[in-house]
Symmetry: C2
């Protein structure tokens, strides 16, 4: 069976426009023949953030540790370890680390959207 | 935005045949209009286990804390906090807690399988 450990040292920088001090590892994805959805592990350094953007597919997010400001369609909430979020398709969203410690989260996406197109980063 | 906390106290017993001392909470599911996949939070008490079974859809699992024996198609591995597993469709699998402490994991499933049938517990 496929077993991988979510290790911050195994993440690599996210180069997407609008991302700052974010690294990522695909834990289970298309390359593993995940049939429906992909699990990615993100680390956001203090002062870092994900892109402020929207896309035609949802996120399901689990905060592993640390504290993040989660913005979704203009609403901003502070989330911490153990919190789960659903970011709907086409919602404008961003995760920002305003704390002094790294924050880690899982973010799951469908492997395809938009009539079968592969989802970026899945 | 939908935010829920993965709280062991909010889980309820899994009554499926073959489950022992397992509780569960749907964190994001069909009732939340999750379009593609569902995230569930499980707690397995010491001595407890999930059913030894197979089904026509995959699991993606993240161990939150504790230690579990993960069996998949005859192979058994010990997994702990931070480990991620892909259990393929139709693999015979079971999670057993042989430790002295509760174990918690996230288990994600597609919301439908088998020509659009709703997946149990999604």
């Amino acid at each position: 069976m496929l077993i991988r450990h979510a290790d911050p040292a195994a993440t690599t920088p996210v180069t997407m426009t609008g991302a700052k001090d974010v690294t990522m590892q695909v834990m289970v994805g298309r390359d593993d023949n995940a049939p429906n959805f992909a699990m990615r592990h993100f680390v956001v350094a203090p002062g870092g953030h994900t892109p402020h953007h929207a896309h035609p597919y949802e996120h399901e997010v689990f905060i592993v540790e640390g504290e993040l400001e989660a913005e979704c369609d203009g609403e901003t909430r502070t989330v911490t370890g153990g919190d789960v979020l659903l970011v709907p398709s086409e919602a404008v969203h961003q995760f920002r680390n305003a704390s002094a410690a790294p924050a880690r989260f899982l973010c799951l996406v469908p492997v395809t959207s938009d009539c079968g197109q592969p989802v970026s980063g899945s």
